[in-house]
Symmetry: C2
Subunit: 225 residues, 2 copies
């Protein structure tokens, strides 16, 4: 990890709502998100936008576009954000020198695939209410995993329009579906703060199978001493 940090350039501040990279830009580097929230998204000709992922500190940004010449996703800061960047050649050096780290990168890419598959399952096969429930639970769990959530509440720095872009609904319908979750006493809202009053109920509504992650498997390549 020290090797990776040495490769990374200085941390750059992106204020809330500022784009870090546009889709179509030439792909030159990867980004490491140190502080703040970022969304990756793409748009269609008619302006419709789909958000692929809400990124938290510790995430690698821009990796999916590694194998293409022009970026497929736009990266945009949701909050004030600290980001540093790594050249692709640098990443390649990591693979040559640190097989254990390389394998961990590979596994993390597979984990991202899993998250995308889960969202696709939700968007393709569930109604709006369940989609929103699934997204909220996803954020809830991920924030806990990286230690950024203490209590049963989350401050979501996203407008309902953005949330609609995650789950594939219009602003208006996202709003109605939010109200329904509240009416069913699964959540409470205070501005953009969301209180998860009935996590189990929400999780059951979301209806996605639980996942058990393997964190430090024996079969990983040896690391350096």
């Amino acid at each position: 990890m020290r090797a990776l940090r040495d490769l990374a350039g200085p941390a750059v501040l992106f204020p809330a709502n500022k784009p870090i990279r546009y889709e179509g830009d030439p792909v030159e580097k990867l980004y490491l998100l140190q502080e703040g929230w970022v969304v990756s998204s793409a748009s269609l000709a008619d302006g419709a936008r789909q958000i692929f992922k809400v990124h938290f500190p510790g995430d690698i940004l821009g990796a999916p576009s590694l194998a293409i010449t022009n970026a497929a996703e736009t990266l945009r800061a949701l909050t004030d954000t600290l980001v540093c960047s790594v050249s692709i050649a640098g990443l390649s050096g990591i693979f040559a020198q640190f097989p254990r780290l390389a394998m961990l990168f590979f596994m993390s890419a597979q984990e991202e695939r899993l998250i995308l598959m889960e969202r696709l399952l939700s968007v393709g096969r569930q109604r709006g209410v369940k989609r929103l429930a699934a997204f909220l639970i996803h954020v809830f769990d991920r924030l806990a995993m990286i230690g950024l959530r203490r209590d049963n509440a989350v401050d979501l720095p996203m407008s309902q329009e953005l949330i609609g872009d995650v789950i594939g609904l219009t602003t208006v319908h996202t709003n109605r579906v939010f109200s329904e979750l509240e009416r069913r006493s699964l959540i409470e809202r205070d501005g953009r703060r969301i209180v998860f009053c009935d996590v189990d109920g929400l999780r059951e509504l979301a209806g996605l199978p639980p996942r058990q992650f393997v964190r430090n498997p024996a079969w990983l390549p040896e690391g350096p001493q």
Copy 2:
């Protein structure tokens, strides 16, 4: 690649429609698809199914479940299929010995992410007709890429129900949307054989941005002599 082939077990025949692995099964290995078509999918409690990907010869199967204890996706043969398997520890050995190959695996995982993102964009933000167009074009292009398509036609070994499970529509609606593509003279059908009479029109309808893949970049780690 020879190293990989040495690791792989013998090729096993799975007849059409036979499951190779169920979601929930313990994750022990990866699969290499040598011959035939396979779909990976997952289901919800109510029985709704989402197909994540249609796999062709050369694909690695089961990788997304690498980081979890119980498989997230069901793998099922669409046609008669030849599959061999690799232990996860074996893959790990590849990472330790062949950094160039490891990097290629990593990039292929990112490419898979890209494909999933594209499908999510389509399913989340497009109407049925465009979703089907996008899927057909995707299959059309991928088959050409691996040299399994000569003319302007594809034999899709999938029922309309399965196709609906890819693009997130019911059987009935998938059927209507198929008819519309035909009515608009974008395709012709003869059983499960699909003739792409107007590839450009279909591609435009699908409305997804074109991708330029980097195939052998200079920054890849050195391979063995």
